[in-house]
């Protein structure tokens, strides 16, 4: 029995690959985590960190060496939970000789869909992923982005409670990436759970509610986006046109003033909100242009680099 509200739960989940006769490689080791229902959960890490291994374990495509996991309250490999999930693989491959509706019809029947219900669902999904006007193309004629869109469509056929996406924005053009993000956010807004694996941190940050960072087969850090990006940070003021005189003037409030970047923008960090407002006032009074005043949030990329470099330093 899985607890209510938890879509995925892993307990010491470990996958060790055999390499040759005696060699081994830990794909993922002792992974214990929970993914609450209705959230977008991002599993991030560099290539080879264990993201896809984790995903395949959860899908029953790999078998754990030790540990256990539940998906939607059911044990790994059960056909019952597979009827309630969707999966978008990395670099999706499909039967090349089919076109998009044929492909979706094939996958739809595997979910037990048929007739008018299936046909309506296919038309609706092709519209959603922007493939309605190119539906007659065969898969072998698709670009990577088109394959990705069809992959999303097939994953949504059964209106899943939980959808797994492996590198969903890889290979997409900026418009495609935005469209993908909107689709994912739309899925979440309907109360579904999304499990994303990616190393494209800029795409993950605006989408994810919660993130886990894995590296070299180990879970290094997990938390909500707010917790991870906010941790230990104060406030910051971004401004341009900061003259040396102004620098001297605000020197007492901001001890370390960095050099301006190539655009002439200086980022000034203060320990609290009050000082940030005061500094901004001084800058405006001195003729500088204040671009932003707000919490000094780190980016996911910065957090990620800290974690990975910390690992390298170990």
């Amino acid at each position: 029995m899985g607890a209510i509200g938890i879509a995925i739960r892993t307990e010491g989940l470990t996958k060790v690959y055999r390499i040759g006769v005696r060699g081994t490689h830990v794909g993922i080791g002792n992974l214990t985590m929970e993914v609450p229902e209705g959230e977008i959960f991002g599993l991030v890490g560099p290539n080879g960190a264990g993201k896809t291994t984790t995903l395949k374990l959860l899908l029953g495509l790999l078998f754990p060496t030790s540990g256990s996991a539940e998906v939607l309250g059911m044990p790994l490999g059960s056909s019952a939970y597979k009827a309630r999930i969707g999966y978008v693989p990395d670099g999706p491959y499909f039967y090349d000789h089919l076109n998009a509706p044929e492909l979706l019809r094939f996958y739809g029947t595997l979910f037990g869909l048929r007739g008018q219900v299936l046909e309506e669902r296919i038309a609706q999904l092709l519209e959603l992923v922007g493939m309605a006007d190119r539906a007659h193309f065969r898969v072998q004629e698709y670009s990577k982005g088109m394959r990705q869109r069809v992959a999303v469509a097939q994953a949504l056929l059964n209106d899943p409670d939980l959808i797994f996406l492996d590198e969903p924005t890889a290979g997409l053009d900026p418009m495609g990436a935005i469209q993908m993000r909107n689709i994912i956010l739309n899925v979440r807004s309907r109360g579904k759970t999304v499990f994303l694996c990616s190393h494209l941190l800029k795409d993950m940050e605006p989408m994810c509610d919660r993130v886990a960072i894995v590296n070299q087969g180990e879970l290094k850090l997990t938390g909500t986006i707010g917790e991870l990006l906010q941790a230990g940070a104060g406030y910051r003021v971004r401004a341009s046109g900061v003259s040396p005189a102004l620098r001297a003037k605000i020197g007492s409030a901001v001890p370390a003033i960095p050099d301006a970047d190539e655009n002439g923008v200086v980022v000034l960090k203060t320990p609290d909100q009050k000082q940030a407002v005061e500094v901004a006032g001084v800058l405006v009074g001195g003729g500088a242009q204040v671009l932003e005043v707000g919490p000094d949030r780190r980016t996911l990329e910065e957090v990620f680099i800290d974690v990975v470099e910390g690992q390298a330093g170990d």
Binding site: K56, L62, A83, Y87, Y95, F106, F111, G112
Partner: protein
């Protein structure tokens, strides 16, 4: 819940009864207890099939979809079309063999024509069977399918059926080509034979060609199951080589039987180890030579439907065991 439990128990009881009756029929057919071997073989298959369905509750729709997708994908493979064109050319050439007598020429046509169908059917069964699952794994299309509510065993059974349907389709095309050649050439040979006072019966030969083609279909079913089973644990190349080896060993089944049962106290030619090995081989390998009735056709030996039925049932049982093994092997594979 109570009703479900009761229904489930009833289903299991029916399944157990069907399985026991099925096994009883296997024994009855094998021992030839009531001189109705074919009837018992068919009953055995039906009852064991019912038992298997009741116990495993397969998603038949998923199996059907995987099988049809396999067929439509397989028929586009270039090598199959090349093999088929090669077969049609060989069949066409079978009518150009000049011979001493019309009956010998007819026999030559039957031998070469049916032999070509069998050879090309074998190539298709081996290479298609070996590559189907391997290609799904290589192209990662299997990941998406197995992430859906499709059991691994259903996938394997669907692939096997898809392969067999494809082989049958190609065999039917080759068979049709042979029939056309036969119908064009055979009447000429009959007239030629009549001119020298010899009677050739085409009606009997047509029936035998049909029987031979049916047996080739079941022979290729066995071969496809061998190829698919090996491909679940090894590369497609290994699977193709192993399947070809099994196929050719299967042509020597009677030779292995002779070696295993050779028992002349005055002659000590065969080493006991070789006898034992021959016995094992005879018991394990499919007896592919039984599926080849060309010699019987050419020597005008009667080919009874009961023989055809029993040989086909033997092939089906053998294939079922192999496909069951393939399902077990595939359930341990990782992707």
């Amino acid at each position: 819940m109570g009703n479900d439990g009761g229904a489930s128990l009833l289903v299991r009881v029916i399944g157990i009864i069907a399985a026991l009756l099925g096994l009883g029929c296997v024994v009855a057919a094998y021992m030839d207890m009531f001189s109705q071997r074919l009837l018992f073989a068919v009953l055995a298959l039906a009852l064991l099939g019912v038992a298997a369905v009741l116990f495993t509750r397969p998603n038949l729709r998923a199996i059907y979809r995987v099988a049809t997708a396999t067929f439509f994908e397989a028929r586009r493979r270039r090598f199959l079309n090349v093999v088929m064109i090669f077969a049609v050319i060989l069949i066409g050439l079978s009518s150009f063999f000049a011979s001493l007598s019309p009956s010998a020429e007819l026999n030559m046509m039957l031998d070469v024509g049916l032999g070509s169908i069998r050879l090309c059917g074998m190539l298709i069964a081996v290479f298609l069977g070996s590559r189907l699952i391997a290609d799904e794994i290589d192209r990662k299309t299997v990941d998406v399918i197995l992430a859906k509510p499709v059991r691994r065993s259903e996938f394997v059974i669907g692939k096997f059926l898809g392969a067999w349907i494809t082989v049958i389709a190609f065999l039917l095309i080759m068979g049709a080509a042979f029939l056309i050649v036969y119908e064009l050439k055979a009447p000429l040979l009959v007239r030629k034979a009549q001119a020298v006072g010899v009677q050739l019966s085409l009606a009997e030969t047509r029936g035998n060609v049909l029987k031979a083609t049916i047996l080739i279909m079941f022979e290729m079913m066995v071969l496809s199951s061998v190829a698919i089973t090996v491909s679940t644990v090894a590369s497609w190349i290994f699977s193709a080589v192993a399947s070809l080896t099994v196929y050719f060993a299967g042509q020597l089944a009677s030779y292995f039987h002779h070696m295993a049962t050779f028992n002349d106290p005055h002659v000590q030619l065969i080493n006991p180890t070789i006898k034992f090995f021959s016995w094992i081989m005879y018991r394990i390998i499919p007896h592919f030579e039984n599926f080849d009735i060309r010699e019987k056709i050419m020597t005008h030996d009667p080919v009874y439907w009961e023989f055809i039925g029993l040989t086909a049932m033997h092939g089906v049982l053998y294939s079922l065991v192999l496909v069951a093994l393939a399902c077990v092997f595939f359930s341990y594979r990782e992707f």
